[in-house]
């Protein structure tokens, strides 16, 4: 598992300037190590260079500088048809003049596999993606079916690496969820390296072992889904993956794993400082996920409220005993019921607001909050992170 399958070393890709335009640096000095058998995601917003990176691995583009190493061999100058890599294109790129079976057999024919074996293997690959319409032309298939053909066509060659460029982008939500699940299963079964391009953070989190978050040609952070979600190193990553509150303030103290940040209006909050080190008195951003924040009423509810999930008294005692929490008084200014959760907007300090997600457990109406309520907001200090801007 830990054997490196694809190594990308300081790769830059610059497209030459068109008339009257600046040259485009689509990929700006990225380095990545992708392990054998790994389901690896390239995640980032549109235009960040995901496709370009993939195309360099496939061999459709050559890096302007830097090196790509596939299974220990530098592949500079090796044309696509000699690379042990297959691609599932975003638009599928099925050959319109060939049937489904002919499409899937194509790669085997090119490899010199004899017709009968090619047919058998292609049929097996189509079976694996659960497709039966062997003799149809691609345009007679639905989007989901075309996607399966594209997958079978790439898989049938049993490449060391399968590159997938937003392969589910054109499918509706339900089919997409199904295909996500099937792709994950298939990847596990075949034990192939998948490099999966997507701009959908949820898809990347659901499917992939590790994620590289890209922005404007750079890789900002690489890690497992939970690492990236829980400990984003930059504001961009925190913002791109999931929902995050950013509150601006001034760093006033660092005490081991605890940093103190003063918000406008003088409210103090505590958070975990970033490893990269932040200098005192600089402006910083505290990032905290909405679901990591808890709300309690400041004025205790009457008797009826006490059979709630956690009695207010218990909460208060937790507040007293645990030290690594930060408490801030606030006011509910907006409340939005969204089924499983309720999203509250809470004003803290002078001008900062927080989005807080409270799960709607059971049926305890008494503990829900109304606009205008005075509340106490608290979070575990380790869940709030100080980011440099």
């Amino acid at each position: 598992m830990q054997q490196v399958g694809i190594e990308i070393k300081n790769v830059i890709k610059e497209f030459p300037a068109r008339r009257g335009e600046e040259p485009v640096r689509a990929v700006d000095n990225i380095s990545l190590q992708i392990y054998e058998g790994e389901f690896f995601a390239l995640l980032g917003p549109s235009g960040c260079g995901k496709t370009t990176t993939l195309r360099m691995i496939a061999g459709f583009e050559e890096p302007s500088s830097g090196e790509i190493i596939l299974r220990g061999k530098p592949v500079q100058g090796v044309p696509p048809f000699h690379r042990p890599v297959n691609t599932v294109f975003q638009d599928y790129a099925l050959f319109p003049h060939m049937t489904v079976l002919q499409n899937v057999m194509f790669g085997l024919e090119m490899a010199g596999v004899n017709a009968r074996e090619a047919r058998d293997r292609a049929a097996a690959a189509l079976e694996m993606v659960r497709l039966k319409q062997f003799d149809r032309k691609p345009r007679q298939l639905s989007g989901g079916q075309q996607q399966r053909v594209a997958l079978a066509r790439a898989l049938v060659k049993q490449p060391a690496v399968l590159l997938l460029d937003e392969p589910l982008g054109a499918l509706d939500l339900k089919l997409r969820k199904e295909m996500q699940y099937e792709l994950m299963q298939m990847q596990e079964e075949l034990n192939m390296t998948f490099v999966y391009v997507t701009h959908d953070q949820e898809e990347a989190l659901t499917m992939c072992d590790r994620i590289a978050v890209m922005d404007r040609g750079k890789v900002l952070q690489v890690g497992r889904g939970n690492e990236i979600y829980e400990t984003p190193h930059s504001r961009f990553v925190a913002d791109f993956i999931g929902e995050t509150n950013f509150i601006e303030g001034k760093l006033t103290a660092i005490n081991g794993k605890k940093a103190t940040v003063v918000l406008p209006g003088g409210v103090e909050v505590e958070a975990t400082p970033d490893q990269t080190g932040t200098s005192l008195n600089s402006s910083v951003t505290v990032a905290i996920r909405p679901e990591k924040i808890t709300l309690v009423h400041v004025s205790l509810p009457t008797d009826q409220g006490l059979n709630a999930r956690v009695s207010t008294a218990e909460v208060m005692s937790a507040i007293e005993t645990e030290e690594d929490r930060t408490f801030v008084p606030g006011t509910i200014i907006f409340s939005n019921y969204i089924g499983t959760d309720t999203r509250y907007t809470v004003r803290i300090g002078e001008s900062s607001t927080l989005i807080v997600r409270e799960q709607n457990f059971g049926n305890f109406k008494d503990i829900t909050f109304k606009v205008g309520d005075q509340v106490m907001v608290f979070w575990a200090t380790e869940n709030a992170r100080v980011l440099i801007q």
Binding site: A58, P79, T87, A93, F95, P96, A154, K157
Partner: protein
């Protein structure tokens, strides 16, 4: 029409504009021959009608006959006409040989040129692109004369250096036809190629096909309608060409249009009308097939 639809979309972003230009180009490619044929219709209709006129006189209608068509084939010709079936058939043969060979060569070269224009990436590309249009826009007479000068310069040079004397003939006619046909083929094939999803070729390459096999297994089948269409256009232009042929054929080589011209210099006989009607029919059918093929969408079965 083309410019009007461009003006409507011009503010709506570049992609829209590019698409419109492409669409306008396509429409233009279909409309342009239609317009040409429209203005040709009037005299042609007269010609066709009088090819069935039961009278030697070209001026008055005397009833329907197929006699002139019969004369063309049988050679039974009236006394004052100098029409000879034998000469006509030999001219037709020359025309077909010239058109076939010129079409074949021009189709291969034109397809290659269009491939390099659409897929290639080299500094002088826009220059080649512009030069490609040249034979389509410059007057045919200019082309004919320049070819004539070019050939005589070469023949002179060969004559003085090696002592071998070459004179113009069927070879120079074929070369002349190839020269203008390349442009037409390349323009038609290029439209088809530009329509094709470039990822298809990448997919083939990704699946292990080298460029040669990619071309024959993927590109060629998909642009084939364009190639056939271009070839038919070239074949028709070649069959119908008079000016370039006339200037570059030398004494021995007579194609059908040149033969007809020779007949007309003597007198306009109904057989010429009949023969011209047949040539018109052949051209129309060929162009019709060519246009039908161009209209079919690239990238679909």
């Amino acid at each position: 029409m083309a410019t009007r639809s461009m003006a409507i979309h011009i503010d709506e972003g570049r992609i829209r504009r590019d698409l419109t230009v492409r669409k306008a180009g396509k429409i233009g490619m279909i409309l342009e021959p239609l317009f040409a044929y429209f203005f040709l219709w009037a005299p042609i209709i007269v010609l066709v009608i009088f090819s069935f006129n039961d009278s030697r006189s070209v001026a008055t209608w005397r009833g329907f006959t197929l006699r002139w068509y019969g004369n063309i084939l049988s050679g039974a010709v009236g006394a004052e006409a100098r029409f000879s079936t034998e000469l006509m058939l030999s001219a037709l043969g020359t025309s077909l040989v010239v058109a076939l060979i010129a079409t074949l060569i021009a189709t291969v070269i034109g397809t290659a040129v269009s491939m390099s224009l659409v897929r290639g990436n080299y500094p002088a590309k826009s220059l080649v692109d512009g030069l490609l249009l040249l034979p389509v826009v410059i007057p045919e007479i200019t082309q004919a004369v320049s070819l004539l000068l070019f050939f005589s310069a070469i023949f002179d040079f060969v004559g003085t250096t090696t002592g071998v004397r070459i004179s113009p003939g069927i070879g120079t006619v074929i070369i002349g036809h190839v020269v203008f046909n390349i442009s037409y083929v390349a323009i038609v094939v290029r439209a088809r190629l530009a329509d094709m999803n470039p990822h298809l070729e990448e997919a083939a390459s990704d699946l292990g096909a080298n460029p040669w096999r990619t071309f024959w297994r993927v590109t060629f089948p998909l642009i084939l309608p364009g190639i056939i269409s271009g070839a038919l256009l070239a074949f028709t232009l070649s069959l119908d060409d008079f000016v370039v042929t006339f200037f570059n054929s030398g004494p021995g080589t007579t194609t059908l249009p040149v033969y007809v011209y020779g007949l007309i210099k003597l007198s306009v006989s109904p057989e010429i009308n009949a023969l011209s009607t047949l040539m018109l029919l052949a051209s129309t059918v060929l162009i019709g097939i060519s246009m039908a093929l161009q209209g079919r969408n690239a990238g679909r079965g």
